[in-house]
Amino acid sequence: MSEILAHLTGVSRTYQKGKERVEVLHNLDLEVPAGDFIAIMGPSGSGKTTLLNLMGGLDRPTSGKVQVGDAVLSSMSNSQLSHWRSTNVGFIFQFYNLLPVLSAQKNVELPLLLTNFNAKERARRAGIALDIVGLGDRAKHYPKELSGGQEQRVAIARAIVSDPTLLLCDEPTGDLDRETAVEILTLLQTLNREHGKTIIMVTHDAQAAEFANRIMICDKGTLEHQEAA
């Protein structure tokens, strides 16, 4: 875990809200070692999701530098960021965000459409990802035919199918009951420990955060302190 995967240096992010300028992140520094599992907690509006968006190349800082691996995200074009996201990062959302018109298998295959794999290879890889999350037998089911926990597992399979180094999870258990949440968190832990994925998880839930290696508290635009999990 000694190699640093993500560096954030002096990162600020300001939004214009009407006539008012709101500074969501203020001069933030962060280093994320490869293979780490970090939980970021904090009150609503503290900048947790903004931080996640910056590390995922969905947003750019107003000032400062965001680097993940060799890629300096803060200076990349939209097109470059799209390409980078497709191969380096997997996203897991609170509400799963599966495409309802596609089966579980086809949802998982979506990121692979951006590769040069043929249909057979895409199907094979999606099958493996679904097996990893324990849903190999639900491949042909549509999202409306799955439970919340199963939908989130499909979303996780979609996030890992292109074998990214970094997984960014925004409240991944926020819409699930306790028992299912534990299953999902255990799965994330397995992906971290056995598959070497670096995971950054935003959560309001202290029990969920316990599954991470480290917990960081985001408040008023800064990472105020961190504690061992």
Binding site: N78, R85, S86, F93, L99, L110, P111, L113
Partner: protein, 385 residues
């Protein structure tokens, strides 16, 4: 092509809405097909210089007949290879609903000017020999189940017989057909000599002349030369191409070409509004899904392409169905009214234009929703979801 599965699934996201939109596209292209085919008949033969056959009618009105004596004078005109005549008989078969074209002609002259009409030689010979013999087109034979050897009565609406009767009886000696897909065979021919002798009035008059132009001759010059011969006579003439002559029958109903153009314009304008609204709704209700695609790494232009492709696909499904149904209808209409308006034909050019309109309308209907999808901010869209 690898996005086709995704595009196809998105198109059918709301099955009822998509089906209704496709139905409206289908109706629009069905109309386009029918009106194009009819329009083809109207515009035919306007380029006189390339015409192989010319038609000479009375300058004042087609209703006015021309003297048979004009035939030799036309034949002597420079550039004229052959000349014959025909006359509108205007009868019906069995009952008044069974109206088709019957024309008294000179068999040898007429058939030599229409080499595209095919008939077994023995049938032609039998027709020539039988004064009350007639030949009918394959379309008529099929429609009324008429065979060679049948004796058919035709009730005259114009030409009463010298004995006062209106029923003309003919022996069917032959059935003619044509290999030209645009060719019309929904009419009947019989001997002019018999007709001229048996009719109660109008002896020595014909309806129109058909002129075969010498190879290499300028049709426009030949037309002018023919008409010049009869200038200032009691029966001045007007010589045009054969198709323009045929279209003149239908044009008596008014400027149909203009009317159909206006109808099509209105139909396609409405179609754009309907399909544009469908695409706008489709994009609005899946903002978060489009944001997810972008999050996964789909570039802006890929999202633009996916939404545009959905719009074009809807147009193609409805348009091709409309074109298919239209083609079937055109065949039926061409058979039903081909005798009065020959040349109803769905040309390959019209089909290409239809394909172009499908793609163009698809782009127009989808471009604004597609641009909206392309410019979508991932963060805003996910926050709204």
């Amino acid at each position: 092509m690898k996005y086709f599965g995704l595009i196809w699934k998105n198109v059918w996201r709301k099955k009822v809405r998509t089906s209704l939109t496709i139905l409206s596209v289908l109706v629009a292209f069905l109309l386009f097909t029918l009106l194009s085919a009819i329009g083809y008949a109207f515009k035919g033969g306007q380029d006189a210089a390339s015409a192989e056959r010319l038609v000479t009618i009375d300058k004042v009105s087609l209703i006015n007949l021309l003297p048979i004596a004009y035939k030799n004078r036309i034949a002597s005109t420079p550039g004229v290879r052959a000349v014959t005549h025909a006359t509108w008989f205007g009868g019906y078969y069995q009952n008044e609903r069974n109206q088709f074209m019957q024309i008294p002609v000179d068999p040898h002259e007429y058939m030599s000017l229409y080499p595209e009409l095919k008939m077994p030689q023995e049938q032609f010979d039998a027709w020539v020999k039988n004064r009350t013999g007639a030949v009918i087109g394959q379309e008529l034979a099929d429609q009324y189940d008429i065979e060679v050897g049948d004796r058919i009565p035709i009730q005259a609406t114009i030409w009463t017989k010298a004995d006062g009767g209106r029923s003309w009886e003919f022996d069917v000696e032959g059935i003619f057909s044509t290999d030209d897909p645009r060719g019309v065979t929904a009419y009947m021919m019989f001997h002019y000599d018999y007709f001229d002798e048996a009719r109660a009035f109008g002896q020595g008059l014909v309806g129109w002349y058909i002129i075969g132009v010498e190879p290499g001759a300028d049709s426009v010059q030949v037309s002018k030369a023919v008409d010049a011969q009869f200038a200032n006579s009691p029966n001045e003439t007007e010589t045009t191409t054969e198709q323009a002559f045929s279209a003149s029958f239908a044009k008596q109903l008014g400027n149909i070409a203009m009317i159909v153009t206006l109808i099509l314009g209105a139909v396609f304008f409405t179609l754009l509004l309907v399909s544009g609204n469908t695409m706008s709704q489709s994009v609005r209700e899946r903002i978060s899904e489009l944001a997810v695609l972008k999050t996964l790494g789909f570039e802006d232009r890929a999202v633009l392409g996916i939404v545009l492709s959905e719009s074009i696909l809807i147009m193609l499904i409805g348009g091709l169905l409309g074109l298919g149904f239209g083609w079937v209808l055109v065949q039926g209409i061409a058979k039903a009214v081909g005798a009065f308006l020959p040349g109803i034909y769905l040309s390959p050019q019209a089909m290409l234009v239809a394909l172009g309109i499908m793609v163009g309308a698809g782009v127009l209907a989808g471009i604004f929703p597609a641009i909206k999808a392309m410019r979508l901010s991932i963060i805003d869209a996910l926050a709204r979801a």
